[in-house]
């Protein structure tokens, strides 16, 4: 049952990423040139609704569907890792035109070269794991 719910949520997300065109390399390029509101509208809507959802859950102590207390974990405090890591991610996001969600959507949509991006994203993650202790965090 739970497995089915993960799969269905994933399918919903995959369809949304494709139909919203957030998985399009062109939309990412256009966004970074500030030549369309589209991507800002998507992220803005998601964040405004997301803030409301989180606030309502916290304020009314809403329990999960399985009756559990919902806990939001704060992110670890740091400046350098978020800025430096963020810049490296941004460089790749703009170049490949895909972040870790859309790259899987595009694989399903049949764009074979995206498999190169996925493979090297896994390798990039591996390199981070090797170098982690030598990097400023």
């Amino acid at each position: 049952m739970r497995t089915i719910s993960y799969l269905l949520i994933g399918i919903l997300f995959g369809i949304t990423l494709f139909k919203s065109e957030a998985a399009s390399w062109f939309r990412i390029y256009e966004m970074f040139r500030f030549e369309s509101f589209h991507m800002y509208g998507i992220i803005g809507t998601a964040v405004i609704l997301g803030i409301s959802i989180v606030q309502v859950i916290k304020r009314f102590k809403i329990k999960s569907f399985y009756g559990q207390k919902i806990i939001f974990y704060p992110k670890e405090q740091s400046i350098s890792r978020y800025i430096i890591g963020g810049i490296i991610f941004g460089l790749g996001w703009a170049l490949a035109g895909a972040c870790p969600g859309p790259m899987f959507t595009l694989a399903g949509a049949g764009f074979l070269p995206i498999l190169i991006v996925i493979l090297f994203a896994i390798i990039g993650t591996f390199l981070y794991g090797l170098l982690k202790d030598k990097l400023p965090h």
Binding site: K19, I83, L91, C99, A109
Partner: protein, 185 residues
């Protein structure tokens, strides 16, 4: 129901992404895609090389099933829910892309110069995709999350670290598009 075959407007798309995050929260999970790349490393045996990959990957299996769903969702959307996949971007953007050598701008979902089948036999295209992938994978783990984990989940929970990460995403993206693209293409 014709709207479903058209590109979705930003407000529908944004609301659907918020719904996905809400559903995951309500089943005691969190919304974040890039952590799956770490799980895949561990499954491939990276835990034997670096401590960062020593964790119980089975506890993350649920997220891999979400990824499987994302792949299936991409397949459904592309083959059954789309009549015309071309992305109507700003004509000014099309013009600029044409100057850079992307003739498919405005007529395709992805640039055929990078994502067409023939691109796989082009060394430069493969190199661009590989470097892009490495930067995304490395940067996402360094920053502790990607667009879903920071820009959506983190900002929704008003996390200052996520705001810093999103500022980083944009600094990197702007530098790539405005400074490096004219040198690469």
């Amino acid at each position: 129901m014709n709207w479903i075959f058209e590109p979705w407007p930003w407000y529908t798309s944004g609301a659907m992404i918020a719904l996905v995050m809400f559903l995951l929260i309500m089943i005691d999970k969190t919304f974040g895609m890039s952590s799956n790349l770490r799980t895949l490393c561990t499954i491939c045996g990276a835990d034997k090389t670096a401590d960062f990959f020593k964790f119980d990957w089975k506890a993350q299996r649920w997220n891999l099933i979400v990824v499987l769903g994302v792949i299936i969702g991409g397949f459904i959307a592309s083959f059954f829910l789309t009549n015309d996949p071309s992305v109507t971007i700003n004509p000014k953007t099309v013009e600029r892309l044409n100057e850079l050598g992307f003739q498919s701008a405005g007529d395709a979902y992805l640039p055929t110069e990078l994502f067409g089948l023939s691109a796989m036999y082009n060394f430069k295209s493969v190199l661009i995709l590989a470097v892009g992938g490495i930067l995304v994978g490395f940067g996402a783990r360094y920053a502790g999350g990607c667009t879903s984990g920071h820009a959506i989940s983190g900002l929704s929970n008003l996390q200052v670290p996520s705001l810093l990460a999103v500022i980083g995403f944009f600094l990197g993206g702007l530098f790539m598009i405005h400074i490096l693209f004219p040198l690469i293409f």
